[in-house]
């Protein structure tokens, strides 16, 4: 039998809720699928949709975005903005011919380690079912991003 497809998933987590939920899951030794690699943001509102595109272009098969429950945002209401962007992003991706199912928005509070692991496991299976993302694999992709970003880097205002 052929070995089953192991999707690569990038997860963007809010520093206040879901990243702590991941810590909680760890402390409680809850086992879950190793396919997700987390990147910490201060808030789901920080998520620039281009991060998701970048992740796909660089080889991710799925992207998970997690934030505080509606109404519980550490920054009052930014998770709603994340929600709006997420919905728009899904449509855009569909336009690109990418299954919207490859992006998932999850609410998980700091207390919800179990929920987070369940969501991760579920999402891994969903992406596994979709199969590998056949994004045009062209070596230049990264460089283009670099060059587009060059101006940013050049004019970065030091804090």
């Amino acid at each position: 039998m052929t070995e089953k497809f192991e999707p690569v998933i990038v997860g963007f987590t809010c520093n206040w809720c879901s990243y702590r939920a991941a810590d909680a899951a760890g402390t409680a030794r809850m086992k879950y699928a190793p396919n997700v690699r987390l990147i910490r943001l201060m808030c789901s509102g920080r998520l620039d949709p281009s991060f998701v595109i970048k992740a796909f272009a660089t080889g991710a098969d799925g992207v998970m975005i997690s934030g505080c429950h509606p109404g519980d945002c550490h920054y009052i209401s930014q998770n709603y903005k994340a929600l709006r962007r997420y919905l728009l992003l899904r449509r855009t991706l569909a336009g690109f011919g990418i299954e919207p199912g490859r992006v998932k928005l999850v609410w998980a509070s700091a207390a919800e380690g179990l929920k987070l692991t369940e969501e991760i496991n579920a999402f891994v299976e969903e992406v596994r079912a979709l199969g590998p993302l056949n994004w045009p694999k062209w070596d230049g992709a990264a460089e283009v991003f670099e060059s587009e970003l060059a101006p940013h880097i050049a004019t970065e205002v030091p804090a």
């Binding site: 505080c68 109404g71 207390a111």
Partner: protein
């Protein structure tokens, strides 16, 4: 793809921790070390080491040594969660003269070794996470912490015993406190109780001095009949809006003589303080020792407000303090810290129809009984049936009403066992009646609590182990005629019993406040799934929350008895004074900044900010960020179409590079 071509602009040291065997049992630590050494040289990794305990002083020295000797410009530590040891390693780097924000921590314990089992997979994941952070740290910038002065004033919300304690501790420490209470008087639930377990000293006797002290303390501004309506700002600098509801009584003129109360012709049922068991006048103070003792006029029930006539209170007031035109006042106060001691609600027993509360006259709630046994209560301390005169000969006390029950509240309300034992004692003392206690498990863990249990057994109370199934007024045999029949399985006997009694006292559970969620939202803290406020850490940090500067004390975070509530009030106060004495708080320098040359003044970002830290400069046609107000969420950065906004600590470059890294082929 690696960047061999470019010569790396930074010198990076990577340190992989075994954490004893916490990590090394699942992750091939040496493997990770060698892989980084070999594959990330192009990104500037000049040294990669592993060590048993990186967080140990020896481990830290290792880093400091390398910074000094190898001239490292960036440090990456792969160990536990940044929420645990980020500070440790950043301080270490700082000691060696490296800006702390050039050090990053990778969580390979919480996110890998503790949650995965397959060593090969775990090791691969560890490599990619480290790679991600290496590529990220290259783009880190040296940052300086923002220091903001702390406002020495404190807001305490809730005038129950926990709030009073907290306020007094801080006030005695020499700092000013605004103590806000939504009811007309301080005191909270404790003021309604008769005796306190297990010592049985009179609740009012020990509470009143504290209330008076708080009421008269030069450092405490007591605002009763008031509610917080808005909170903005951040630790050290909150501005709070408080609505002081109209009392229709001029506090400057009122002497609290009480003549108005005496003369008021109208009585209504007092659902709040007397728990619906007694009456109060329409102009009233909830109880004799009320602090402050200015009365409140209950406008919806006042004859004058209904019909435009009466004004008895005004006529008889010797100081003309009655003011029917008085409006709600809006106060704005600036504080540095906020303590929430908002307490609990009592479970509404009428939801359990099988106990007949509200249908069967002689079924009482715990609070009704507290008022009844209280000598200043509606029955002057006489324990009687609903008819107001008959003494009960047999009384049943039921534990866990609405607690430990998935149909209502899953949690144990912690105080009900002791409360019920206290009731048993009081009933015996006042009436000599036969008392039955129906319990599932007897929980008496605190100091001299179990001794109290022994004492109640010794007093001859009959204990039946079983959750009462129903209370019925339908007799099956003559002995049950005219009685309430408690139907229960005596689980220690294994038989169903029907025990006829004259009176039933329910030991209602404690619930989160009905408005806990809204209030939490107002102050920027969240509730757990069962509705209590979440502590920063349930064991090690029970009085602070995830939001800096907002603390919790007493039953707001879960059921507690008086000693525990008092301790928490004091603990929260200590935390606040610690902050005040530091004079200023350091804020993480995670901030958004706008490059005005790139800003097109489109103003898309302007309504992104919930802290109004973004201001549009009309004449320049550009937008600016106020670093003191900015909390660093980064939503505006993601929104800016021109890429004019950048965020320190979490810049696009850092994140995009990290994505590259974690997706590197390993």
């Amino acid at each position: 793809m690696s960047d061999e071509k470019k010569t790396p602009k930074e010198k990076i040291g990577v340190y992989v921790c075994h954490c004893g065997t916490n990590i090394s049992a699942v992750v091939d630590v040496e493997g990770v070390r060698d892989w980084v050494q070999k594959n990330m040289a192009g990104d500037g990794v000049v040294i990669a080491r592993d060590y048993k305990f990186m967080c140990s002083s020896l481990g830290q020295e290792l880093i400091e040594k390398d910074i000094k000797e190898l001239g490292l410009t960036r440090v990456v530590v792969a160990a536990c969660s940044p929420h645990l040891h980020e500070k440790t390693f950043r301080t270490a780097a700082e000691n060696a003269g490296l800006n702390p924000y050039l050090t990053e921590l990778v969580s390979i314990r919480e996110q890998i070794s503790w949650v995965h089992t397959d060593k090969a997979v775990a090791t691969a994941k560890a490599k990619s996470l480290v790679a991600g952070t290496v590529k990220r740290v290259v783009n880190n910038e040296a940052l300086e912490k923002l220091k903001v002065p702390i406002n020495a004033n404190t807001l305490v919300v809730g005038g129950g015993i926990a709030g009073i304690q907290a306020a007094l501790e801080i006030a005695n420490g020499g700092f000013h406190v605004y103590l806000v209470e939504r009811e007309p008087s301080l005191g909270g639930h404790m003021a309604q109780f008769d005796k306190t377990f297990p010592t049985l000293d009179c609740s009012a006797c020990i509470l009143t001095p504290r209330m008076v002290e708080a009421g008269t303390h030069p450092n405490i501004t007591v605002l009763t009949w008031s509610e917080v309506t808005n909170v903005s700002g951040y630790i050290g600098n909150f501005s709070v809006t408080i609505k002081k509801k109209s009392r229709c009584v001029n506090e400057e003129l009122c002497t609290g003589c009480g003549i108005c109360i005496e003369k008021c012709p109208k009585k209504v049922i007092d659902d709040t303080f007397e728990a619906g068991l007694g009456y109060r006048k329409v102009i009233y103070t909830p109880f004799a020792q009320a602090v402050p003792n200015f009365p409140v006029l209950d406008q919806p029930n006042c004859t004058y407000f209904e019909k435009g006539t009466c004004k008895a209170c005004e006529k008889f007031c010797p100081t003309n303090a009655i003011d029917f035109t008085q409006q709600d006042q809006i106060l704005n106060v600036e504080v540095g810290n906020i303590i929430l001691a908002t307490g609990y609600d009592l479970f509404d027993a009428s939801r359990m129809t099988n106990y007949g509360y509200g249908r069967l006259a002689n079924v009482y709630s715990s609070l009704e009984f507290e008022r009844m046994s209280n000598s200043s209560g509606p029955t002057n301390g006489h324990i009687v049936l609903r008819d107001g005169k008959t003494k009960p000969e047999t009384v049943g006390i039921i534990h866990c009403v609405g607690s430990r029950d998935k149909n209502f509240n899953n949690h144990c309300s912690a105080i009900c066992c002791m409360q019920s034992l206290k009731f048993a004692h009081l009933v015996k003392e006042h009436t000599g009646a036969t008392v039955y206690e129906f319990y599932i498990d007897m929980r008496t863990p605190a100091k001299s609590y179990d001794e109290f249990y022994q004492r109640i057994i010794d007093e001859g109370t009959v204990f039946v182990r079983g959750k009462v199934a129903e209370i019925s007024d339908i007799p099956r045999i003559p002995d049950e005629e005219g009685k309430l029949i408690i139907q229960v399985e005596d689980t220690l006997v294994g038989k169903q019993r029907r025990i006829p009694v004259d009176m039933v006292i329910l030991s209602n559970g404690l619930e989160p406040r009905a408005d806990a969620k809204q209030v939490g939202k107002l102050f920027g803290i969240s509730c757990s799934s069962d509705g209590w406020y979440i502590e920063r850490h349930p064991k090690l940090d029970p009085v602070t929350t995830m939001t800096e500067g907002i603390l919790i004390a007493g039953c707001a975070s879960g059921p507690k008895d008086i000693p525990a509530s008092v301790s928490q009030g004091a603990a929260a106060a200590a935390r606040v004074m610690d902050k005040i004495l530091q004079k200023e708080v350091e804020l993480e320098p995670v901030r958004a900044t706008i490059d005005e040359d790139k800003c097109s003044g489109c103003r898309i970002c302007n309504n992104m900010c919930p802290f109004s830290a973004i201001l549009y400069i009309e004449d320049k046609g550009v937008t600016r960020v106020n670093p003191a107000l900015c909390q660093g969420c980064g939503t505006c950065i993601a929104a800016c179409p021109a890429g004019a906004i950048s965020g320190t600590g979490f810049s696009d470059e850092q994140i995009l590079a990290q994505i590259d890294g974690i997706l590197m082929a390993v």
